[in-house]
């Protein structure tokens, strides 16, 4: 029993680190957007055309938005209506929390699965981007599918934690809103 518990704790910590790492990758992608757009401004003012910068910024946007999903969930940044939940007595609330989290996790798993399938299809058919970048489409699609997959893993992880501990393991919105550096 203790061995199982030990492994579970290690897995738990590793996953939390993975989400933080993905958050850092997302931050890198945001910096990349700024660099790509800045490059296109400079190139345009010099009268040079550099292909693929526009598409690149869009791809970086997709990577930034999806890689941060799991991290943002842990930080309580995703929004929902919790007016009904907070009004419930604590026993009923626990059941409702679990169902809401389970449905959200299931949806995320479906989304991740179909995104992954789209990448495979793009790869098999050798789809190319319509833009001036001419990249094979699976290349920029892959990070987005990966980001959604890690989001799905994170939700299942939070679901298991909730099942075991009976407590929510993401930061709740109340704490966020009153914190000085938190934004809605």
């Amino acid at each position: 029993m203790t061995a199982v518990r030990c492994w579970a704790a290690i897995a738990d910590r590793t996953l939390v680190r993975l989400y933080a790492l993905c958050g850092a990758i997302a931050a890198g992608a945001i910096v990349l957007i700024a660099v790509l757009v800045a490059t296109s401004i400079i190139a345009r003012s010099l009268g040079v055309f550099v292909g693929g910068l526009t598409e690149g910024a869009g791809y970086a946007m997709a990577a930034a938005g999806t890689f941060g999903l799991a991290y943002a969930f842990g930080a309580g940044a995703h929004i929902r209506v919790d007016m009904v939940l907070t009004a419930l007595p604590s026993n009923a609330r626990r059941i409702f929390e679990f169902v809401a989290l389970a449905v959200t996790a299931l949806t995320a798993v479906c989304l991740a699965w179909f995104m992954a399938r789209m990448v495979v299809i793009s790869w098999q058919f050798g789809d190319l981007s319509d833009g001036s970048d001419g990249l094979p489409l699976w290349l920029p699609q892959f990070p987005a599918a990966l980001g959604f997959s890690i989001f799905a893993i994170a939700l299942i992880h939070h679901l298991i934690r909730f099942w075991i501990t009976g407590k929510v393991s993401w930061q709740t919105s109340e704490r966020n809103l009153l914190g000085d550096d938190e934004r809605k």
Binding site: V31, A60, L85, A100
Partner: protein, 435 residues
Amino acid sequence: MDPGTMAILFAVVLVVCLAAGIWIGTALIVVGAFAMALFTSRPIGAAMATTVWSHISLWGLASLPLFIWMGEILCRTRLSENLFNGLSPLLRRLPGGLLHVNVAGCTAFSAISGSSAATLLTVGKITMPELKRRGYPDAMIVGTLAGAGTLGLLIPPSITMIIYGIMVEESIARLFMAGLLPGLMLAGLFVVYNVGWGVFTEQGRSMREQPSTLREKVLGLKELLPVVALIVGVIGSIYSGIAAPTEAAVLGVGGALILAGLQGSLTSKTLTESLMGTVKTTSMITLLLAGSAFLTLAMGFTGLPRALAEWIGAMNLSATTLIIALMVMYMILGCFLDGISMIVLTIAVVEPLVRGVGIDMIWFGVFVVLVGEMALITPPIGFNLFLVQGMSGRDITFISRAAAPMFALMLVGVVLIIAFPQIALWLPDVMTARN
């Protein structure tokens, strides 16, 4: 199934999903999948993946994390102190005194941060203790702050406007132009209210501030200069057509970094914090957009929006009647949802209706954002009211009552833009004609 029953069915499923506490982005996907499974034989998964991908990888969307990042950087500088020190010598002689600093500070800050909550928190943190110390009544401090704090949604660059523009495929630059005058008009209404308080109430008349010396004014202007330069640079480059919003956003990030660097508040800690804050907001919006894009597609397959538009068309409703009906709907939604969620939730069905009766989508963007703002301070449930409650420590009834006049003024603002659509449309028309 007739469109009425269909609409009620989807609305019920959506309300159940949301009330159950399912996160909004995924709740939209659930409703979309439900609609497609019931009314079409198309493969749901493939449609979902391609729509989500094409909506989250847009170049225009890239302006969003950049503007958020700009705001995150500036929130960590002494910008709000600068605003207070700079605006105070210029405005305090007016009847209403330093309360104008609350309004003008929120207006200027919201122009650069694009977020209502950030505006309220950062400006309020500086002005609230100072105004209290000077003996201004709590009701006026809290009321003006809660009201003016909502301006962040309307005055460009606005995050909500970017999302709206992407969803309805209208020019974000034009939306930014359309939001400016209504935003300033609202700020003007708040100023008039302050002046009225300063002139017509006993308490207000007793609160006259010392006139400022020329030296103070000049020093104040010096503190305001960097902020004003940044606002004019970012918004001006969009208005003049030199830069697309995404490009202007990069200029804004650059300017914010330079400003923070000059003030010495750019450390690796604040830089990391600002980036991670940006990641959170960006991902939150990405999930909403993914859900909304799929819901819009699914609704299109069921044919509901078109059927509803025809149904409304057959009733020969005037545009004004439709707008008033929508206003009531959004005000109810606004008690439970923030402005962005309200838009992503309803746009699939509302867009065809509004286009159907010939309403300009740029004008409608200003309208929706304005009503969303108003919902933030709808007594007694409003997001900004809760924020101010947390900051001031007063109970929600007191805050609702203090914000009620501001709510009334915003209602006047909405009526004005319905009666005179040119308040929103004049600037984009003039600017676009010239370019």
